[in-house]
Symmetry: C2
Subunit: 322 residues, 2 copies
């Protein structure tokens, strides 16, 4: 596991360098500073690392994977910039969000510039069918937008079912992680069957990751998470925990519970206690574990080395505290 963490660290550094190189290609202008600010933000780089792990595992050269890995991280950064506007979050990756540091219009334009840069970076990939990569990323983008819209619509509803929630995060979080794995496999010419499995594996990983994020947002500190947490409670966002808890309530109790979350957004201990009493925390942990097991089954017939690394990756993200 230590070797694996060193490997991740190595990839992360290379991706950071690549992101910096992209920010240098942006011509000085009024949009330059916020774009640079966004590209220089520190992140876990989970999506590009996953793309690299998968691509290398199926035999692609590391170098060949960097443009696509960089593109994926830029696209992820873009989604954060626009999502933060919509969710009115003021804190992200340990720094002020762009719409807080500048203004909303600047943040809209910065996001737009980032998406455009992502496609520019993606087509640098040295494979013949570069256009299929663009198609994949574009299809993913549409679903991600759809997922974000569902997420916002759920804020105004108290009867969101577990299935609806899962469909939403499959789009919003699962889709980009899924396409990261898929593109890694495509660049490595892993073959149709394996690419299909990669897609499913990535989707499951993304869903588990999101549910774990929902959990960490309740039991971790803002400082550790590097982003605003209260605003989710105040806006009525439906996390796995909230949906699970709501499912156990009578229809007439649901509104009251949402009010309780809003009023007690500053007192997370109290909310966690309530969740615990009804078994929500346990069910959440169980759900994450179940989905990750399913993800492991999906890659059961992958080459041994890659399988081991992906298992390490799962352990790595399951054990994260932020």
């Amino acid at each position: 596991m230590k070797d694996f963490q060193r490997e991740l660290e190595e990839y992360r550094e290379i991706i950071d360098k690549s992101l910096n190189a992209v920010s240098k290609t942006v011509k000085p202008g009024t949009i330059f500073e916020p774009v640079k600010y966004a590209l220089e933000s520190q992140g876990k780089r989970l999506r590009p690392i996953l793309l690299v792990l998968v691509g290398k595992g199926f035999g692609a050269d590391f170098e060949k994977l960097i443009p696509a890995a960089t593109a994926i991280e830029i696209l992820h950064t873009f989604t954060l910039v626009h999502d933060d506007i919509m969710d009115n979050d003021s804190f992200r990756r340990g720094r002020e969000t762009i719409h807080k540091k500048w203004d909303i219009n600047t943040a809209i334009l910065t996001g737009d510039a980032l998406m455009s840069l992502a496609f520019r970076e993606l087509v640098k990939t040295q494979v013949e069918a570069r256009h299929t990569l663009v198609e994949e990323l574009s299809d993913a983008m549409l679903e991600i937008c759809d997922g974000q819209k569902m997420d916002m619509e759920f804020e105004n509803r108290v009867n969101v079912t577990r299935d609806e929630y899962l469909r939403m995060i499959e789009k919003k979080t699962g889709r980009l992680i899924s396409v990261s794995c898929k593109i890694g496999g495509m660049i490595a010419s892993a073959g149709d069957d394996k690419i299909k499995s990669l897609e499913t594996f990535g989707k499951l990983l993304g869903v588990a990751f999101q549910i774990q994020d929902d959990l960490l947002e309740m039991i971790s500190s803002e400082q550790k998470m590097g982003k605003s947490l209260k605003s989710d409670l105040k806006s009525g966002k439906k996390t796995f925990l909230v949906v699970d808890y709501l499912e156990g309530l009578e229809p007439c109790e649901k509104e009251d519970f949402m009010q309780f979350l809003i009023s007690n957004a500053d007192n997370k201990e109290l909310i966690v206690e309530k969740f615990s009493e009804r078994g929500t925390i346990d069910r959440t942990v169980h759900e994450i574990r179940k989905i990750l097991e399913e993800a492991k089954r999906e890659i059961a017939n992958f080459p041994g080395d890659l399988k081991e690394k992906l298992h390490d990756f799962i352990d790595y993200i399951s054990n994260r505290q932020s």
Copy 2:
């Protein structure tokens, strides 16, 4: 000229059909309706038509040009959706803007989805170096974002110079028209010299088009223009006319004039009268003519047929009333 208008009409219909086909590829979902609404909006389709005219003029098959032409129009539509949020305009292409009909967050996501669709469409182009088209469009996008940001920043300044204004519209409007011409030339393999000329020609055409738009916004009706006009005056937007008029004033008079525009946004006749008295309208008309002459010189050594069509195109847009 009648034949030419028939030709434009034919292209417009084909581009409209292609846009409709794109909207059918978007999977039903929460973002589907506004994306469809945006793609179905009626526009002049000047940019894709220009791409087609240029591409055909340099020998490319019509069919081969359609994906890129469609991509350009989708990208243009995307800029309108996001610009309308920033400018808080409620009326566009004769209909409610997306952020008015839905809400701001939906409009942000719809724009994002459209940009992503534009790149997807672009890579359908059947040329070997498709990735260079993506690079061109992405580079253009960055400058367009930059131009939009400059435009907004100018709203809060009274000392914007004519040069600054021209640089802003070169980015905001000129760049997309320039890249439309360039991509048409690239798909037709027109050769480096011609492609360079196309780029300059498009930029000049775009600048002239924007100044004419500034003029029409003052002397045409909202109904004809199909978009909100008052909001530009109220927000302090710097059009060619405003910048020209401000240049003739003493520093201490400038703020008062901007206040005058805001207070009289409903009385355009009065404003136009003021502009006329100081020769602003004449200078604006002269500037448009001058730039269009420069554009014509840029294509002086183009094949005769194409040159004639581009001259017709210039006449067509110079004579427009909306």
